[in-house]
Assembly symmetry: C2
Homo-oligomer: 204 residues x 2
């Protein structure tokens, strides 16, 4: 057997990595995270368990990367919020799209698995914040700063808090089942928050 | 050996139940939920595994009841929100106390375990909503309705949404690590939401 060349080896590594992430993704959707095992991932991906353990320390870490993998694929589309010059319309459009995503069974199943893992693993949680959450929050901040410059939002508004106040009710309702995740719900959040952020009228 | 009488048996059942819940509580704090086992609970509580399985179908169910047990003990104190006639001051006081609780390591550890379990078990999630969450949300609604009657809040305000908008940022920041859980953060949420809920001025 000829000695393996580096390009071949790295191509094969990449195809194994891809197969492992895809297998993990499929298995979480079909069986749920609680029943996910490294054995099942290895069997479906057609690799040995050692190949998985060489790259990931736990099933949580593989699942996390399979989730991030999808997020990274989409990072081109998702970085900036729309800016039509109407902050209410733009936020409503983005939050409607967000609840549509949460209402998708496949997305929701993976997000449940991810969140359950994060709750028991603070290191993964910090990595999630850096890789997934922080870029999203930064995009909201950019859009709200533009609205503030345009006079749609008060000059002294606490924008960091406002962003979490906009986004967290969706996560909360999805996770705790406090009510239906509808466009009416997200529109109502946007109306409430933007009224709270409105600049004072001239006579103030 | 004389036949056992019913009162004795039920006293013994109650003391086993108590020992199991306390053992579960302690073990979650010490080792985390992921490492909790029915064997360890049985050993610490001084009961057989069968005694646990007779009452609970899974470790998640025991953990859930050990959490609810504490919540039930406190239900007397917690049902109503303070009403000093100043809705901003009352909400700030309650949300400050809420973040103090989330910042308590023991409380936070149990809440992580509970939330991880809820994410993978929709039936437990529905029970949590009924037993723990719904009474709390109802207490907020009562207080906000009083503020609306007093003219502190607009007559047409969407109070159900407002309550989730008030509470969810704390849960979100605690779970996802988006920033520090401080009194300044909760005060800022209250200010933003109450500005959004304010009745229109007469000239509107």
């Amino acid at each position: 057997m000829p000695p393996e060349t580096t390009p071949n080896r790295s191509r094969r590594s990449e195809s194994s990595r891809r197969a492992i992430l895809d297998a993990t993704y499929g298995l979480v959707l079909e069986k749920g995270y609680a029943k996910l095992t490294i054995e099942a991932i290895a069997a479906r991906a057609g690799v040995g368990k050692q190949t998985i353990y060489r790259w990931w320390p736990s099933k949580g870490a593989v699942m996390f990367d399979s989730f991030l993998d999808v997020a990274d694929d989409r990072s081109g589309e998702d970085v900036a919020l729309p800016d039509t010059g109407d902050i209410a319309a733009d936020l409503k459009a983005v939050l409607r799209a967000t609840v549509d995503e949460y209402n998708d069974a496949a997305y929701s199943a993976r997000l449940r698995a991810l969140n359950a893992e994060l709750l028991t693993d603070p290191k993964l949680s910090a990595e999630l914040f850096e890789r997934m959450l922080a870029p999203g929050l930064a995009a909201y901040l950019t859009r709200l700063e533009a609205a503030r410059s345009a006079g749609e939002i008060a000059a002294d508004a606490d924008l960091e808090t406002a962003i979490e106040v906009l986004l967290s009710p969706i996560h909360y309702r999805w996770q705790l089942g406090t009510g239906p995740l509808t466009h009416a719900f997200t529109d109502s959040i946007v109306d409430l928050v933007l009224t709270g952020l409105r600049p004072p009228r001239p006579r103030d």
